[in-house]
């Protein structure tokens, strides 16, 4: 845990803009380069920066492991859920035409939901990867 105040203050200042930029990349994927994977990594880098500077315990307080594991599974479940709803609505797996009022808005909704699921899973996987590597020394049997 770095005592150096400059680092701590900068992290606090930087934390929100990184998340904001991650969300921008997430929802800007339709018009420019971006999408679920890149957004998930950017959001994860904010949390990793926080747990580097403030220490793993603070990082675990910010995002507890239980919630991290739950969000990890939730992202992929959202993706599979979109697929299952398109089956229930009568089309084949992962077809978005019937999700919205007309085919094009259905595609928009489907792509946004799917990208959000990918972003959620990728960000939480990267955070849990960092926590397992960083915390390995602490609870080694």
């Amino acid at each position: 845990m770095y005592k150096n105040p400059i680092l701590r203050i900068c992290t606090k200042i930087l934390f929100a803009p990184i998340i904001l930029f991650g969300l921008y990349v997430q929802f800007h994927g339709d018009f420019g380069p971006g999408g679920g994977f890149q957004a998930g990594v950017i959001v994860a880098s904010a949390f990793i920066l926080y747990s580097i500077v403030f220490g793993l315990k603070e990082g675990k307080k910010l995002l507890p492991e239980k919630i991290n594991l739950f969000l990890l599974a939730l992202g992929a479940l959202i993706y599979a859920g979109v697929g299952i709803t398109s089956i229930i609505l009568g089309e084949t797996f992962l077809s978005y035409n019937s999700l919205g009022t007309n085919a094009q808005s259905g595609q928009h909704i489907g792509i946004l939901l799917v990208e959000f699921g990918v972003g959620l899973t990728v960000s939480n996987v990267m955070i849990s990867l960092f926590n397992s590597f960083a915390g390995y020394e602490l609870d080694k049997g």
Binding site: F31, G32, P33, G35, F37, V122, L129, S132, F133, Y136, K140
Partner: protein, 145 residues
Amino acid sequence: MNWIKGNEMISSAMGIWNYWIVFILMMIGLFIVIGRKNFLKKIVGLAIFQTSVFLLYITFGKITGGTAPILTGSASSIYSNPLPHVLILTAIVVGVATTALGLALVVRINSTYGSIEEDDISAQDLVDYHDQNQIFEKINTKLNK
């Protein structure tokens, strides 16, 4: 097939020297995976090998004078091929997943074997193997008495 020949004879390697560079990078990565004995270096070699394969896919998709596959509304613009980009987006994240699992295994191996060199580890396994055999020899001799 006329499309291979392009505008001038293919024997002049002008059009495909880029492939050769990518192939050389691939072989350096593969050599690190096969040649080096350090377990961490093998994972680095695998990452290099996979990144070079991604470069090969993207060089397939390039059209001279084409722009990024983002529709700009004007009908005349030529777009590079978007399909290899989609495949490589998937392959990059698969590569990182393999690297993460490999690193977790290397950390565990280091904490139980004390080293991540192939020679030290196989030497320790050999010593394990002989210890086990000695234990069974003792059991057999006790049994035959």
